[in-house]
């Protein structure tokens, strides 16, 4: 193999084949998919997200939640994700249309979050959990995200958004309260928005047995 053009051509063509198949093809197909109109309500599946939840995706990315939490319910019966209660049905391409970026994830050091908003719709639960995870689940190895919160002296009336029920070593002393930063509020809004409980024709729910 002494011929540069031949080497170049071979190197080009082999690589171009995968570029066409694994980049150009999904870009043209999945990249142009549209949400499904919901005739009953005039809305769409997947539903549009609030601005706060969109901002929360950035906080999720900045703090690397994806390195421990996946967001996908894989095909059954190849996987047992549905039987494990990660969601009522497999997640399909349309579910991710509004995700930016798409947090499919590669680790389950922590639980899958595809449907965390359906499992835990309570804001205060999420704030308490992010502030001191071990007081919510004592065996959890999630790090505390205290740096997204502010401890402050209560001035007159307690703040409306102060976290309720903190009890761990970082709980506020009497006369103090812990309030979420804008980032923490956005993150929790995003987490609560994670629900794949709407119907999609391409991913029917398997019958319960």
């Amino acid at each position: 193999m002494n011929k540069l053009p031949l080497l170049f051509l071979g190197v080009f063509i082999t690589f171009a084949s995968s570029w066409l198949g694994l980049v150009a093809y999904p870009y043209l197909t999945l990249g142009n998919m549209q949400p499904l109109p919901d005739e009953d309500t005039g809305g769409y599946f997947p539903p549009s997200q609030s601005g706060l939840a969109v901002a929360g995706q950035r906080v999720y990315a900045a703090n690397g939640c994806v390195y421990c939490h996946s967001q996908q319910v894989r095909l059954a019966p190849l996987s047992t994700d549905i039987a494990k209660g990660l969601g009522p049905r497999q997640t399909v391409a349309r579910d991710y249309l509004r995700a930016q970026p798409v947090f499919l994830g590669t680790m389950r050091t922590g639980p899958d979050l595809t449907n965390i908003g359906a499992r835990q719709p309570d804001q205060n639960w999420h704030h308490k959990h992010l502030y001191e995870p071990q007081t919510v689940t004592d065996w959890s190895i999630m790090p505390s995200f205290r740096y997204l919160y502010k401890m402050q002296k209560i001035q007159g009336q307690p703040s409306a958004d102060a976290i309720q029920g903190l009890a761990g070593p970082h709980a506020p002393a009497p006369g103090f309260e812990v309030v979420p930063s804008d980032d923490a509020k956005a993150l929790v809004a995003y987490l609560i928005s994670l629900k794949r409980n709407y119907p999609l024709p391409e991913s029917p729910e398997p019958p319960a047995n």
Binding site: N32, N63, C68, P101, T106, R108, Q134, S144, Y147
Partner: protein, 491 residues
Amino acid sequence: MNPQSLISSFHPANNPDTLASHERAEIDASTRFPVLLFFASAIFWLLIGSLLGLISAWKMTHPGLFDQMAWLTFGRLRPAHLNTVIYGWASAAGIGVGVWLMARLCRVPLLHSKLLISAAIFWNLGVLVGVMGILAGDSRSIEWLEFPGYATPILFIAYAFIGIWAIIMFRFRRPGHVYVSQWYLFAAFLWFPWLYATANILLVWQPIQGSAQGAVNWWFAHNVLGLWFTPIGLASAYYMIPKVIGRPIHSYYLSILGFWSLALFYSWNGMHHLIGGPFPAWMVSASVVASIMMFIPVVTVAINHHMTMRGHFGALKWSPTLRFTVFGAMTYTVVSLQGSSMAIPSLNTLTHFTDYTIGHAHLGLYGFFSMMMFGAMYYIVPRLTGWEWPSANAIRWHFWLVAVGILLMVVSLSIGGILQGLAQFDPQVSFRSSLDYATPFRWIRGLSGFLLLGGHVVFAALFTLMLLKVGRQKEGPALFAAPVKPEAAPL
């Protein structure tokens, strides 16, 4: 040309246009500054990267460690570790080795060294800005592409310089045989900018919509391993093994088969990271098939290297270069066959979301690639500095610390990962169990990190002494023992 003369012309030393030693010295001298610059920065990032990895590892068992500091949270440290070792260490070391090999094999003194020096400066600037960006909270959490959008153009400029340089070198090479290492290097230097530009445009600068991102992400990430690190690692092995034992590569034809099958199959592997995910079935199936087909290039290269080494394994006792390189070559076979098996859907669903994958990644990037780079550096640096490694004992420490360290890490993560996966799979078992099973093995992994870091400190110290030319000048190379003349190969 009959096959016999083709085979004998295959080894650089047997080439009719083999270089005289003064020509070799002249070529080596021309590569000195850029190559040492890449090596020095690579070793610096290796130390930083090991430290970041070590802290991340201990955070898995001690979640409270540094948890009040945003920039040291696990979700920032882990990508900072990964990107530091991928771009700061492995890529820079690979470029340094690749540049030196290209100059030697093109048989001309290095042209346009300013292009490479600028590349090295841009490179390190890009890594620095990128890692700081991740720690500061600008990561987009796209695996292997966490560097923020303002850092990647700097890296891309560096890559572009290197690609242009490689084409120029290849164009102005001295006529004669093109050695197998050159095919791999030429391909790697062309594939990388394409890979990196595509992924950055579609994921970082103008992100595309929906799950197509996942496909592009893993097409990129797997190809960085398969079409950037692997060809550079193999190029090094194809050069170092015959060089040290003084014997040509076993088979020219196996080399051709290995090269083209790697180019074709590896580039299609990426989707095996997304089995059962939100993608058309054919894409995943194509990647599973391509992953299994990787048996061909892997076994081909393994046979070729093994047959070359046959009868010369005694050289592992005295040659540091060979010991690291052969460790890397053997690991390449193991990790690649393991990778093919991990693409089998039923096994993949079990191990995919567990520490098993982390173990596999470290076996590939460290056990194979990094060991290969250490081996090459032990060969190259004395030829650039005109100084010998100051202590064979220190090299021995380096080898055993990192060899034991990486094996301990991979074995513990693999066992822990399988237990974790079984717990994740069984609907009757709670999520907590998957953590409880993995935890003791994470402790062992944390300990293995100290061994690796220790080995790197030894290596960095040795390299610094080489640059400063400390100690008295040694007369011969630093070997573990006196080289034994091998008996006639039983071929």
